[in-house]
């Protein structure tokens, strides 16, 4: 019984990882194509659908962690996926004025490169039982550059969206009401920017620690 379960788990995870991999590959290809043909302002329109699909699929990863299907701690995956979903849906989708900014290109390329490497890494592990050492190296090294570029793009886009958020009153719930409750999306977005201050070093040092562990295992092997 246990043997069947772990095989099913492996097949499922292999399919999941390769499917999301192909989504991100599409994003990268369309982005580069748009950059070549039209320039940065056109990137978003060309990648919107695969981007939304691939990024939103990552919610499954939180569930995988919660039910113990994978070992990644929820404390590391939740902030990363949270910020991605916020930028994808809460900023780019909700405020079209941001879509033509050049930071969208750097965002999309940073995200898609990182994810292509990551999902193929896990996809190979599940499907073939091992990963080639060059892929392991890529997975634990490209973040050194792509985390800063990705985070800068995310923070930058949230920041330039702020005036549009304030003016639009979107997602806001106002007083007076009998539950004396309010929600201001503008302040919430500023709050999210605040979270990046401790959050970014936390994620970066976490990955540095993971890199050390992974690469030393490689040496030992």
């Amino acid at each position: 019984m246990a043997g069947i379960f772990s095989t099913v788990k492996r097949i499922y995870l292999a399919i999941y990882n390769w499917a999301v991999f192909s989504g991100w590959l599409q994003v990268l290809i369309f982005a580069i194509k748009a950059l070549n043909e039209s320039g940065p302002a056109a990137v978003y329109d060309n990648v919107e659908k695969p981007l939304q699909l691939a990024q939103t699929a990552a919610i499954l990863e939180i569930i995988h962690g919660l039910i113990g299907l994978v070992r990644s701690p929820v404390s590391a995956t939740l902030p990363q996926i949270g910020s991605r979903l916020f930028v994808t849906w809460g900023i780019l989708y909700s405020f079209p004025e941001t879509r033509t900014h050049v930071l969208v290109s750097s965002l999309v390329i940073s995200w898609s490169l990182t994810e292509i490497i990551r999902y193929s890494f896990f996809g190979m592990k599940e499907a073939l039982g091992f990963t080639p050492s060059w892929l392991l190296w890529l997975r634990y090294s490209t973040f050194l550059l792509l985390y800063p570029t990705g985070i800068t793009s995310e923070v930058g886009l949230i920041y330039i969206a702020l005036p549009y958020i304030k003016a639009s009153e979107k997602y806001c719930f106002r007083m007076p009401n009998k539950w004396n409750f309010s929600f201001d999306y503008y302040f919430a977005s500023i709050g999210v920017l605040g979270i990046y201050v401790p959050g970014s070093p936390h994620m970066y040092t976490y990955m540095l620690g993971q890199r050390k562990k992974a690469l030393s295992k490689l040496k030992a092997a």
Binding site: K178, W179, N180, F181
Partner: protein, 312 residues
């Protein structure tokens, strides 16, 4: 006798070890360590016996009151190896509590008295202060003043100190929630509930605060002034039916405040505080039941509600 002090990584913390009289207590050892290492004052030291290979039991902590000799292995009373861990800079629990509670005590009246709402975009909103908002401010300040007074005059702490990092974490929690709730209850667009509702809310809350105070007095009498820190079965008043009656009364006290003031912010705080206290209560209940298992002449811990009748 000689004590060899090692860190978890095997490094000798004090070169050459520490020479002690055979009659020395662990407290003497701690002071000797402090004298040799300067920065590790006693409350920062965590001293345990090294784990025996293959044994996965919880490490034996060296109690300051015990004699060092008690921890030596039979037949080897000249040498002892002790594991050292630095707990980091420590503050007194009373210091920690004072700063946690000072924040809400000061921040809340700021929202009541000062024209802060113009910075949130409400410059031209007229503000009529409803009676319930005034009573809420008195109630809140009474609550946190009570907490500060209890910290200095009532509570007996099981550990004298807490890590410094807890000051930042706890202050963040209390001060942020304090500001969050104060913002809504004192808001110029605040909608009060009916008079009968807030009167009942505050009356119930006050009753619970008084009960809570009495619970703290009872808990104080369970601990001897010399701070032995030993556990006893709490009894008397509500403790006869609830293990953590002090938490129960605290939770219901906040419920009273929320019934009176009705804000989502207040209820969010109630839920978070309740879950934290419930966690503590389950741990305490587990410890008490383990300690008072009815064996070897020890009394058996009676069946009681843990924290929140009628739920558990």
């Amino acid at each position: 006798m000689k004590v060899t002090l090692v860190s978890r990584s095997g490094r000798e913390v004090v070169k050459g070890g520490i020479e002690l009289e055979d009659s020395a207590t662990v407290k003497d050892l701690q002071e000797a360590i402090h004298a040799r290492t300067k920065k590790y004052y006693p409350s920062r030291q965590r001293l345990t016996l090294p784990a025996k290979p293959g044994v996965s039991a919880r490490p034996v902590v060296l109690n300051p009151k015990s004699k060092v000799l008690d921890f030596c292995e039979k037949g080897n009373s000249d040498n002892l190896t002790v594991l050292f861990k630095d707990l980091g800079p420590q503050v007194l629990y009373s210091t920690l509590f004072f700063f946690e509670y000072l924040g809400p005590l000061v921040i809340y009246p700021l929202f009541y008295y000062l024209p802060l709402y113009k910075y949130f975009g409400y410059a031209d909103t007229d503000r009529t202060i409803h009676p319930v908002q005034t009573y809420a401010m008195y109630y809140w300040c009474l609550h946190y003043s009570k907490r500060i007074l209890e910290t200095f005059f009532v509570h007996r702490f099981s550990h004298a100190t807490s890590p410094l990092s807890n000051v930042f974490r706890n202050c963040l929690y209390y001060w942020t929630f304090g500001a969050y709730i104060a913002y809504y209850v004192n808001h110029p667009l605040y909608t009060p509930v009916s008079e009968i509702q807030w009167k009942i809310g505050f009356a119930f809350g006050l009753l619970c605060q008084v009960s809570n105070f009495y619970c703290h007095i009872i808990l104080r009498s369970l601990r001897s002034p010399s701070g032995n820190g030993g556990y006893q079965i709490p009894k008397g008043f509500l403790f006869n039916i609830v293990t953590c009656a002090n938490y129960t009364t605290e939770i219901y006290q906040w419920l009273g405040f929320n019934i009176a003031t009705q804000t989502v912010a207040g209820y969010v705080f109630l839920v978070v505080a309740t879950s934290i206290m419930t966690n503590w209560a389950m741990g305490k209940n587990r410890r008490l039941r383990k300690l008072f298992d009815g064996k070897e002449g020890r009394p058996k811990y009676p069946r009681r509600w843990v924290i929140l009748p009628p739920f558990f």
